[in-house]
Symmetry: C2
Subunit: 232 residues, 2 copies
């Protein structure tokens, strides 16, 4: 196969091209709030793990490679968040970055991981470059996906109680959710696991996710709160 040339005889490489990076915001829930994984470097301080995209590779595979190399994490599902392309965003030159998001249960992180709390959709410590904004995008994406299905990223294990599920959603949406309405909205996305979890009082029933079950769109109103209007 011979290399492509345009009308003036130039190939693609004869034109200026940016470097293309991926940066990954890996979220988790701990202590009732969202947190994000960061890595430390002498030059950048705190930053999201990232890498340059290699030839023949998709950005998603580059994200997998970055997480394996920089945080020792394998088998994660990434979601594309958007392209960050301000020409000034990287002091090294013309670098655009494709931000990706993912979420993992706390126990899958290496013990020496650095997790930064997210408050008001922004990490509480400064991150390098435009990485704080990527975190905001990752949170928005997580909320959208959690409004459509029951814990799609399996931040809880296979089996969980309704209380555990509600506390997870309260952390993700950063607001209290009414106990009984929450149960009624989600219960027909669940099946009993036939087991009980003993605790301080009456044991709670353990549930599993109903496979391929989407939540009704009205559930989004519950999680987000039906922004303003009405209630005169």
């Amino acid at each position: 196969m011979t290399k492509w040339r345009d009308a003036s005889g130039k190939s693609l490489e004869d034109y200026p091209r940016p470097s293309v990076a991926v940066d990954v915001a890996v979220l988790t829930v701990a202590d009732g709030e969202l947190k994000v994984l960061v890595v430390k470097s002498p030059r950048d301080g705190l930053a999201l793990p990232g890498t340059f995209v290699h030839p023949g590779e998709t950005t998603q595979r580059a994200a997998v490679r970055a997480l394996a190399a920089k945080a020792g994490l394998l088998g994660i599902e990434f979601h594309q968040l958007g392209v960050f392309d301000d020409p000034q965003r990287d002091y090294r030159g013309w670098v655009i970055s494709v931000a990706h998001g993912a979420a993992l249960p706390l126990d899958r992180f290496p013990v020496d991981s650095t997790l930064i709390s997210i408050v008001n959709d922004v990490p509480v410590e400064d991150l390098a470059y435009d990485h704080a904004q990527m975190v905001t995008f990752a949170v928005a994406d997580l909320r959208e996906r959690y409004a459509r299905a029951v814990d799609p990223d399996r931040l809880l294990g296979e089996a969980f109680t309704v209380l555990g599920l509600r506390q997870l959603y309260e952390a993700i949406y950063a607001r209290p959710l009414p106990k009984d309405t929450f149960r009624r909205q989600l219960v027909d996305g669940l099946v009993s696991a036939g087991q009980l979890e003993v605790g301080g009082g009456r044991p709670a029933e353990l549930f599993r996710r109903l496979p391929n079950c989407l939540l009704p769109r009205s559930a989004a109103s519950l999680f987000y709160g039906d922004y303003g209007r009405r209630r005169g």
Copy 2:
């Protein structure tokens, strides 16, 4: 300012980089259905307008430039849809594309524009590369934005009737919407323009968009239909 070098003395340009393009799906509503603007070329057949991103330029500005050059369209607001990065997607070599979406009223297109109907979220004619999938993304993005506000892209003019607005939404969501519920959902996102539009019967009141007014999240259920469940 001296050029950045990494530990092995190499600059960014010493590593392989992809060409980065933008492709733009400009949507409109005509004859009660969504359509998308395409351009014809001898080599690619039908394709979305696009261009390579220039140094010092954002992808959004490249999108503006592409539309001005290839379709004679100015003053459009673009929304980023996603990155298409399959290494095989372009026969010329390693080209990733940042897809953008926009929407314009029919009367803003040049008279010789080619508009392709969109049925089942896909253009009815084959497009080059992965451009058909970009159109699907653009439709999804348009629907999301139209569920959050009243005709944010101003496909209708400044003033319009509730009937006109409903027909627009029926075209966008490709489903009939109940006349009275639609009105009650949207009417408090509108203000009367103090004018009437005469027609075959009783004249219809003209409305304007209430500035900065978000629709309640429950409106999304109306537009999309509350996917399945219930109603036993």
